[in-house]
């Protein structure tokens, strides 16, 4: 059974009296363990799709089934619970809380989880992204790459069904971004389902499958033939500069 099943998904925004269709009927399935890149120019509806897949918004019509559950008509609190337990978000601008340590940031989703807190899970998650020695640092003391890795640890901590990355490398230089992508590839290799939105073809080619959008419609859905593998070593921008 598909992990994500989207059927004829539509989203129309009401801006004053004008109705702007952002998604105009999209249908696709994503199986567990896939690594999908979503591409498209701005205005293609990929951000809208991300918001819908992330349960941050509700579709105007159509259904979205996540992990066997129709989540397209859930109310606010139920969607919050889905975001908490089933989805791990990674943003372009990291979105860490500045006054908290890396560990506290990582533990943030646990605060809202019925399972409660587990410091060990959080430090394990940080260790898995290579930040075991940065646990008690504030975001201000971390490089961009390190911040994004904290964000990935935060996304992992509640063991979600899918990780959603919204331009996760957009604010990073190429080599640092490569490090981040390598983490996604490793997680995917370990069985996690990963979806990232990107407009860079180079990044998308690290995925296993690319969904391309244009004008609110799915334009193409193809597997990646010559898949790229990012080097895990140059994960950190600072390190790379030091080496250069």
């Amino acid at each position: 059974m598909a992990l994500i099943s989207v059927r004829n998904l539509r989203k129309t925004y009401d801006i004053g009296s004008v109705r702007v269709p952002a998604l105009r009927g999209v249908t696709f399935d994503i199986e567990p363990g896939e690594f999908v890149a979503i591409m498209g120019p701005s205005g293609s509806g990929k951000s809208t799709l991300m918001n819908l897949l992330g349960c941050l918004d509700r579709p105007t019509s159509g259904t979205y089934t996540l992990d066997g559950m129709d989540v397209s008509k859930l109310r606010d609190n139920a969607r919050a619970a889905i975001r908490n337990g089933k989805i791990g978000f990674v943003f372009q601008s990291f979105n860490l809380l500045m006054r908290m340590t890396a560990l506290k940031n990582t533990m943030l989703p646990m605060l809202y989880s019925p399972e409660g807190r587990n410091r060990q899970f959080a430090s394990d998650a940080l260790e898995s992204v290579g930040l075991a020695d940065r646990v008690h640092h504030n975001p201000m003391q971390l490089s961009g790459g390190e911040q994004q890795r904290v964000a990935i640890a935060r996304a992992l901590v509640n063991d979600p069904a899918v990780i959603l990355g919204d331009e996760p490398t957009g604010n990073l230089d190429t080599s640092t971004g490569g490090g981040i992508i390598s983490i996604f590839q490793r997680l995917n290799a370990q069985g996690k389902t990963v979806m990232i939105v990107t407009h860079e073809r180079d990044i998308a080619l690290h995925a296993k499958r690319i969904l391309s959008f244009r004008d609110g419609l799915l334009e193409s859905d193809e597997p990646v033939v010559d898949r790229l593998y990012a080097a895990p070593k140059s994960a950190d921008g600072v390190d790379t500069e030091a080496q250069a």
Binding site: N77, R83, F89, F91, L97, L108, L111, S113, R154, N158
Partner: protein
């Protein structure tokens, strides 16, 4: 998110903006401090008044000699030349037969000699009932007896302070003191009486320095000093000197006060009006006396207290309101400033309620911290006031609990709107917000 986590987040947030938090708290601090110090002053004044009135007795009516002056004086000379007199007491006793005690009091200042140096003290001529009516008690020996009064016995009883002044630490019992021209034997010592610091009622005075003698002795030995000016008019001067020279009969002897003790508080007001009508007739309409009902004074003071309390509550609630508005203002600013944080929290699974609770708790933490500091400042202020102004202040637990509760309430009320605003933030918008 657990309450503890939320409180911790709130504290962290406050700590990271120390100055801002402090300034925000000031409003609450001042409000709470104002409430506590004001309530303490009010409570102190109330206790003081209560104690004094209780000391006067709630079941008594005082009839006091009053001075007349000006035009009234001339009329008084004619119609009621003696003012309040011994006979008035007897008349009251006859009419108010239900009264438990009618005690005439005659106060004069006289020189009292033990050794060589005379000491001027207030000499109170009275009857045995005085002890009960004024709620005094004899510490050793006895008070004046009926037989002393009847026999004009040369005995006296010393108040605690008077004893100290006259005899120091020596035992005065059985010793003789010279009051005026007469030698009196000390037969009793009064227990010290507690008297409040500030005297709210003129009717109450320090009884400790008094010396008590039988009223008959007072009548035969002393004159009540009249504050009449010496008239320039020869005829009037003659009249005055004749009056001063002649010894009025016992009934006509001026006295300073009659204390009437009745069955209970309710009987005081009717008794007072009865007395008023008797005296009005016998004094032929001259108001050379005043009637004081402590129970009425108590009621009036409670009335005043109520008004005072209302005014205080209004002032205090205004300052707390201002504090609350300050908190609301800062919380709204915080919500705007932390839009992105709200977005992140919502994104990782915080419900609207989680966000509401977090911001409410932050507001609560501010107000409760402010309330705590305010309680400290208020208690300090109250003790400073009682030190410097000499007012009695009573810091009651109720006042502390109330003001702390009110500041917490302010936190909830004024934290609610910003918190709801925070929860209404759309996570998608919030994440895009910079």
């Amino acid at each position: 998110m657990g309450i503890l986590d939320a409180i911790l987040t709130g504290l962290t947030e406050l700590w990271s903006h120390k100055l801002r938090s402090m300034l925000t708290m000031l409003g609450v601090i001042f409000g709470v401090a104002a409430v506590i110090s004001m309530v303490s002053i009010g409570e102190g004044a109330k206790r003081e008044a209560l104690e004094q009135i209780k000391q006067m007795g709630i079941d008594v009516v005082h009839v006091k000699r009053a001075m007349t002056s000006g035009e009234l004086l001339e009329k008084a000379e004619e119609r009621s030349p003696y003012g309040l007199r011994y006979g008035d007491g007897t008349a009251i006793q006859t009419v108010c037969e239900y009264a438990r005690r009618v005690v005439p009091v005659r106060e004069v200042f006289a020189d009292v000699k033990v050794g060589e140096e005379p000491v001027t003290v207030k000499v109170v001529g009275t009857t045995p009932g005085y002890e009960n009516v004024t709620r005094s008690a004899v510490q050793s020996g006895r008070f004046i007896r009926e037989s002393d009064v009847n026999n004009n016995a040369p005995v006296c009883v010393l108040g605690a302070a008077a004893k100290r002044e006259l005899f120091g630490f020596n035992d005065p019992m059985g010793k003789t003191v010279k009051i005026g021209k007469r030698l009196l034997r000390v037969v009793g010592l009064m227990e010290p009486k507690e008297v409040g610091k500030a005297r709210a009622f003129a009717a109450l005075r320090d009884l400790n320095s008094d010396v008590y003698i039988p009223i008959t002795v007072s009548i035969s030995d002393f004159r009540i000093s009249s504050e009449q000016a010496v008239p320039a008019d020869l005829v009037k001067l003659e009249m005055l000197s004749r009056k001063l020279m002649s010894r009025p009969s016992k009934d006509n002897s001026p006295i300073s006060e009659v204390i009437i003790q009745v069955e209970n508080e309710a009987a005081t007001v009717p008794t007072a009006s009865l007395i008023r009508s008797i005296l009005n007739r016998s004094h032929r309409g001259i108001r050379d006396y005043e009637i004081i009902i402590p129970a009425e004074l108590l009621r009036q003071s409670q009335q005043t207290q109520r008004i005072f309390n209302i005014v205080m509550a209004a002032i205090a609630s205004i300052s707390l309101l201002v504090g609350g508005i300050g908190i609301m203002n800062i919380m709204l600013a915080t919500v705007t400033q932390r839009t992105r944080e709200i977005g992140v929290r919502r994104c990782v699974g915080a419900t609207r309620w989680d966000i509401v609770r977090q911001f409410m708790l932050e507001a609560l933490v501010i107000t409760c911290a402010g309330g705590l500091v305010g309680v400290g400042v208020g208690v300090g202020l109250a003790s400073a006031i009682s030190n410097y102004a000499g007012w009695r202040t009573v810091v009651s637990v109720e006042a502390i609990v109330l003001s702390f509760g009110v500041s917490a309430f302010v936190g909830i009320v004024f934290g609610l709107y910003p918190a709801v605003r925070a929860a209404a933030v759309d996570p998608i918008e919030a994440l895009r917000y910079s």
